[in-house]
Amino acid sequence: MAARRNNPSGIVPTIQNIVSTVDLDCVLDLKHITLHSRNSEFFPKRFSAVIMRIKDPKTTALIFASGKMVCTGAKTEAQSKLAARKFARIIQKLGFPAKFRDFRIQNIVASCDVQFTIRLEKFACTSYGAFSTYEPELFPGLIYRMKKPKLVLLIFVSGKVVITGAKKRDDFYTAFDNIYSVLAEFKK
């Protein structure tokens, strides 16, 4: 894991959710899985995947018949990998030749608080307006689509910032550093 960067303000965004995917590399019989495991649900008419949950780490997995799996809810990258391995183990125990191929983290969601209120209308009107979308009628937060690194930040009047779309931890540290210096100008 990369070392934690230090922002001059000392604020570090905390990760709230990590979404990852892994390929189990074998065809699965979803009905069999649902019948023989306790913590899963499967409604083919609603969605064509088994939804399985484990308690530790507290995560949810969507398991598809092709053998691909999506694991959500973990709070760190290591936990996400561990959880995905646990799910793969469950599938293995049920009798399928599951492997653990191509584990990839697809999305990391983090949030933080800049500790001051922000003037969103001013922010949207300036040169950063090209990247911002602020529609108070539709959503109370300003949607800032950063180009480098490519991710999306939701900035609220209260000063809370949600960063999403990052694939690596470093990405959102960089993004937060970039945005903090800008936001300080628009303090209310």
């Binding site: 949207a124 009107c125 539709l138 009047v157």
Partner: protein, 312 residues
């Protein structure tokens, strides 16, 4: 004025052409050289105001540059009286069935015109909405969406670009079937498309409570004093830290101003004309109440009147 040979003066003289009588008159001796000259410019009297039905000078509607061929068309109509002749009755039918490249466009323009009529918008906004629709029309991702939502979003964007914004709820009320969410999504998509095409020249400022205030006040029939006071209050409230949608703030300020005046409006009336829910107006009122002394102008209400304001 020209130089022609005048028979009386026996030399070329300055000749004046009198348009009103059609006479060519020599300016020196006054001799009429030519009378009743024929005017070869276009028809003077158009008969348009006299005959209500057809104006023989015009052969179609105003040319619309947005349509593929400028709106030129020739239609075969049913002959009056005579009927039973297979060819004449079918020709009209066959022409209509033929593919018309603009048919969907014309239909869309008609819908936009109906919507803008219902809202009472000027022709500028309607034309801008037509242009926007033309730019985004018939693109694959748009096909799936509700057509009404797209047209409503075009109208919303046109209003914003002309600095006369209308709330999404107002646009919702005239767009049949489109929900606020659908219009919002369609609007995001269209804005992105326009930016791609024009290269980032889309400048739509954020909405402010003041933009809508005038219209809400006139819906409610407030008197001029109240309207002015409300506008001042809205200006001052922009500096405060109130985390509410600008429309809700406008509605709450109208509520405060009307409560202070003689002519108190019911929460229900304000809710109807602004489109803000009653509960939201009450909550916004709770947020604004502590600052009431700061935002209400002093010439409108004294301190003790403010005390009369019911505490939320």
């Amino acid at each position: 004025m020209a130089d022609t040979y005048c028979p009386d003066c026996k030399r070329p003289t300055e000749v004046v052409f009198d348009h009103s009588a059609g006479d060519t008159v020599c300016s020196e001796c006054g001799l009429v050289l030519e009378a009743h000259s024929i005017d070869e410019t276009s028809e003077w009297r158009t008969f348009a105001n006299e005959s209500t039905d057809n104006d023989p000078v015009r052969v179609g509607g105003p040319s619309n540059p947005l349509l593929a061929d400028g709106g030129l068309s020739t239609v075969i109509s049913k002959p009056t009286g005579a009927s039973g002749d297979f060819l004449t009755t079918s020709l009209g039918r066959w022409q209509n069935r033929g593919s018309n490249p603009d048919r969907s466009l014309i239909q869309a323009f008609k819908t936009i015109a109906t919507m803008s009529d219902r809202l009472g918008l000027v022709a500028t906004i309607k034309d801008r909405a037509n242009e926007i629709y033309k730019k985004v029309e018939d693109q694959k991702p748009l096909r799936g969406r509700n057509q009404d939502a797209i047209l409503a979003a075009c109208l919303y964007i046109a209003c914003r670009q002309e600095d006369k914004p209308r709330t999404v709820k107002e646009i919702c009320s005239v767009a049949n079937g489109a929900t606020k969410k659908e219009i919002g999504r369609a609007k995001e998509y269209i804005v992105k498309q326009l930016e791609v095409e024009l290269g980032q020249s889309m400048e739509m400022g954020t909405i402010h409570a003041g933009d809508f205030l005038r219209r809400f006040c006139s819906h409610l029939g407030m008197n001029n004093q109240a309207v002015k006071a409300a506008q001042e209050a809205v200006q001052k409230s922009e500096e405060l830290d109130i985390r509410r949608s600008p429309i809700s703030i406008a509605a709450a300020i109208i509520y405060i101003i009307t409560q202070l005046s003689e002519d108190k409006k019911l929460l229900k009336d304000i809710s109807l004309s602004t489109g803000v829910a009653e509960g939201t107006i009450r909550n916004s009122y709770k947020d604004l109440y502590p600052y009431a002394a700061r935002i209400i102008p002093s010439w409108y209400a004294k301190e003790d009147d403010l005390k009369n304001l019911c505490s939320p």
